[in-house]
């Protein structure tokens, strides 16, 4: 399996990076998938009316999207920290080469964040439908820009020194490769699968059969669409990466992820047929996804690993990470991590009890 040849210290950072990235991806999927659904629904609303099921799905997403974005950003801090521990040179170079274009994601995200609050405001509800649709589509466009920029930054960080030099010398603002669109499609479409499961849990107690059908449609579009996008991405991947993924240990990851996705699909198909949100099936979809997302994240790392292990500064980077691991503070981190997780757990429990009591 890839990365197992790394020193133990580097493996620890890699595991932390992957775990925190998965958490970030789950929250991000809710934001991106939610923005897609809201934009689609708002545009549809220009020509037709919602059914109650769609209205309830739109309402819950609209209500939770600002929080989801806040959580996404907060959970994104940890993987950015660990990616710097592991791949400093590549990450920093891509940042520097894209400069203004890359930094533009920040004002765009600030505007999008405020638009999410505007989107759930009563003030906007009183405006014309076309205005509401423009806000929803605008938010989606902004998230697409951010997603595009991340993909671009990531792919540029995997490029060779020669490609970096050319990029700089030509003063390019964009970095477009054959991987960009399929990669972006995979993450965008896949986000719908996560969204469907989280919204299903949110609406479980009040879901009508139409709601189940709508959510199943969203989830299945996400799952099947991501398989198609993954196929497209496979064709665009460099030969060395395809070979690496084809190696037995990495192939196991593909198979396990595929099984997770299959479980997810089976659960939603069954729920769609029965029109009921059964807890055990919802759990099956959740577990399936909880297997598929880490597998996809691992495979994403194979692409990076193959690219970076070929460059000159890989070994010095590995050694530098190993050296940094000797610096203190891990115990303090562990202590506060556990303490804060417990406190957050207490908050959720306490607030849930009081909300339940009040209702």
């Amino acid at each position: 399996m890839f990365a197992l040849d790394l020193p133990t210290e580097n493996l620890l950072y890699l595991v932390l990076y992957l775990v925190t990235l998965v958490l970030h991806v789950v929250a991000m999927n809710y934001v991106v998938g939610g923005a897609m659904v809201l934009a689609g629904a708002a545009v549809y609303r220009l020509v037709g009316n919602y059914c109650d099921a769609t209205r309830s799905i739109v309402a819950v997403i609209k209500d939770w999207l600002p929080l989801a974005l806040g959580v996404t950003i907060t959970l994104g801090v940890a993987p950015i920290l660990f990616v710097q521990m592991l791949y400093k040179h590549a990450f920093y170079t891509a940042n520097l080469l894209l400069f203004h274009r890359w930094m533009a994601i920040l004002p765009v995200l600030i505007v999008a964040f405020y638009l999410l609050y505007l989107q759930k405001s009563e003030w906007l509800e009183r405006r014309a439908q076309v205005v509401r649709a423009a806000v929803a589509v605008g938010v989606l466009a902004m998230f697409l820009f951010v997603a595009w920029s991340w993909s671009e930054n990531h792919l540029l960080s995997l490029a060779s020194q020669q490609q970096w030099t050319e990029h700089y010398a030509q003063g390019r603002m964009w970095y477009l490769t054959s991987e960009t669109f399929p990669r972006l499609s995979l993450w965008m479409i896949g986000s719908l699968a996560t969204l469907s499961v989280i919204v299903a849990w949110q609406l479980r107690s009040q879901a009508s059969s139409t709601t189940v059908h709508r959510l199943a449609l969203i989830g299945l579009c996400g799952a099947i669409g991501s398989v198609v996008a993954a196929g497209w991405y496979w064709l665009a991947l460099p030969g060395a990466v395809r070979t690496a993924i084809g190696e037995s240990a990495n192939l196991v990851v593909v198979i396990v992820g595929g099984l997770g996705l299959a479980a997810f699909v089976a659960a939603w198909v069954k729920m769609a047929r029965s029109g009921r949100m059964e807890a055990r099936l919802l759990w099956l979809a959740t577990v399936g996804l909880a297997i598929a997302i880490p597998c996809a994240t691992l495979l994403r790392e194979v692409r990076r690993y193959v690219a970076l292990t070929e460059v000159d500064h890989w070994q010095p980077a590995v050694a530098a990470t190993q050296e940094s691991a000797q610096f203190g503070g891990f115990g303090v981190f562990l202590l506060f991590f556990v303490a804060n997780v417990l406190v957050i757990g207490w908050i959720i429990r306490r607030v849930s009890q009081q909300v339940k009591h009040a209702s």
């Binding site: 929080l67 806040g70 959580v71 950003i73 907060t74 959970l75 994104g76 801090v77 940890a78 950015i80 920290l81 660990f82 710097q84 521990m85 400093k88 920093y92 940042n95 520097l96 400069f99 890359w102 930094m103 920040l106 995200l109 600030i110 964040f113 405020y114 609050y117 020194q161 970096w164 030099t165 700089y168 010398a169 030509q170 003063g171 530098a320 050296e323 940094s324 610096f327 203190g328 503070g329 891990f330 303090v332 981190f333 506060f336 991590f337 804060n340 997780v341 406190v343 957050i344 908050i347 959720i348 306490r350 607030v351 009081q354 909300v355 009040a358 209702s359």
Partner: protein
């Protein structure tokens, strides 16, 4: 030039972050009043003010925090890389407090109306602790850059973290946070249509008590100055006019706010209206700007004192680059190299990019042409070769005599408005002279660490 961007963004972010920290404390006080005295006005204030806190600090505050990180990468990847290497576990610890801040903050934001008083207070206390703890951790890392202290000897994370400026800086920022939160609260109270005039008077008076600890600022500020390295303190106290002016701006703004707060607290019927509150907030922003400028400025010529210069070159590398050249192994060509009429000017442009570009432009803001364009060619050679003597807050020149001469010619060519023809200077006597200048200046900065 990029340094100015991070300075501007930093001021904005610090102001918002301190508002969030002080805001948490302020809300705890008002919620406590509600719980203790059944003060419904305090409760209404908490509910109204918290929405502002969320909308400003959770959105713009959080994202400008990320922006600071990305901008620091743009300005000096090597500095942020070193900070990450040294303090990644402490940064990760800070992240756990971000998570707590978001969890407690959003729980309050969504459900405060249906929660009992104790739970509301508990959430606000947790929010305030989390916000303050994020200051605690980042303050240690930032103050390490200025006064790395024992870390220079033992390399220990904790020696670096609990450095000489850690406590005065932490306490000063805590006081500043309380003041900013109170001033923003005065604006919010005045803007809120749901409070009548009498209620506004009561609330503004109460929030103004949060300005009272400002009385400690001169003592804590003095403590901070006292533990600064001597050269840094010298610049603040008149050695660098820009630094002194910004310090004075910060101090004068704080003094004005403090004086107004004092008048407000001793004159019971004095009221702060929205315009005055906004003006006081602007002054607080000015004070923050002055303070942050000074904090960044007194670190010069380093980004990590005695370790890494502001142009991302280490002390050890200066001597090495004087032998082999600073851009000899630079894999990146110039953008549009055809604009330079000679190879020497192209080399000068590369040297500028490597050693000067972080803080300077050629002829724009903080431009070399403006700073050195009137010098004679010999002055240019001498002053750049002995840069750390010319301006003690500048790092030593880290390159070969050929590179220095190329930079000199670039400045002259730019100063002459880029003529199409520009001859190369290759007189061995000139290069020898530059080498002599550099040798005399040495490779250490003027604020080098005394020999142990």
């Amino acid at each position: 030039m990029k340094g100015m961007v991070i300075g501007g963004l930093g001021i904005f972010h610090v102001f918002l972050a301190q508002f969030a920290i002080g805001g948490g404390m302020l809300l705890c006080y008002f919620q406590w009043r509600d719980n203790r005295y059944g003060d419904t006005l305090a409760r209404r204030f908490v509910d109204g003010y918290f929405r502002w806190l969320v909308l400003v600090s959770f959105v713009t505050g959080a994202l400008t925090g990320v922006a600071m990180w990305f901008t620091t990468i743009q300005v000096s990847p090597r500095t942020i890389g070193m900070m990450v290497d040294e303090f990644h576990w402490l940064w990760a610890t800070e992240w756990t407090f971000f998570c707590l801040e978001v969890a407690s903050g959003y729980a309050f934001y969504r459900y405060a109306k249906v929660l009992d008083g104790r739970t509301r207070l508990a959430l606000l206390v947790l929010y305030a602790i989390a916000a303050w703890m994020s200051l605690f951790w980042i303050n240690g890392i930032l103050s390490w850059q200025l006064t790395p202290g024992g870390w220079l000897d033992d390399g220990s994370v904790w020696s670096g973290f609990f450095n000489a400026t850690f406590w005065p800086s932490l306490i000063y920022r805590t006081l500043a946070s309380m003041a900013i939160a109170a001033l923003v609260a005065a604006v919010v109270v005045n803007l809120a249509p749901s409070f009548d005039q009498e209620e506004k008077l009561t609330l503004v008076r109460r929030v103004f008590w949060f300005l009272a600890p400002m009385a400690l600022m001169p003592i804590i500020g003095g403590w901070f100055l006292a533990v600064l390295p001597e050269d840094s303190r010298g610049w603040v106290m008149g050695g660098s006019i820009a630094m002194t002016l910004f310090f004075a701006l910060g101090a004068a703004s704080s003094l004005l706010i403090g004086a107004y707060a004092f008048a407000m607290l001793v004159k019971p019927r004095l009221f702060v209206n929205g315009a005055t509150a906004a003006l006081l907030c602007a002054l607080a922003f000015g004070a923050t700007a002055g303070g942050e400028f000074v904090r960044e400025g007194v670190r010069k010529p380093y980004t990590v004192r005695h370790t890494l210069y502001s142009n991302s070159i280490t002390e050890d590398e200066v001597a090495h680059f004087r032998e082999v050249g600073s851009v000899t192994n630079d894999p990146y060509p110039l953008v549009a190299p055809e604009q330079y009429p000679s190879d020497q000017l192209g080399l000068g442009a590369k040297v500028f990019r490597m050693q000067c570009g972080i803080c300077h432009t050629i002829d724009g803001a903080n431009g070399l042409v403006h700073l050195a364009g009137t010098w004679s060619v010999d002055q240019l050679r001498l002053n750049i070769a002995q840069l750390q003597h010319t301006k003690p807050f500048m790092p030593p020149f880290a390159g070969t005599p050929e590179e220095l001469e190329a930079l000199v010619q670039l400045i002259r060519w730019e100063g002459e408005h880029r003529p199409e023809q520009w001859g190369e200077t290759s007189d061995p006597a000139v290069l020898e002279g530059i080498a002599e200048y550099m040798k005399a200046a040495g490779t250490q900065s003027m604020v080098s660490r005394p020999e142990q």
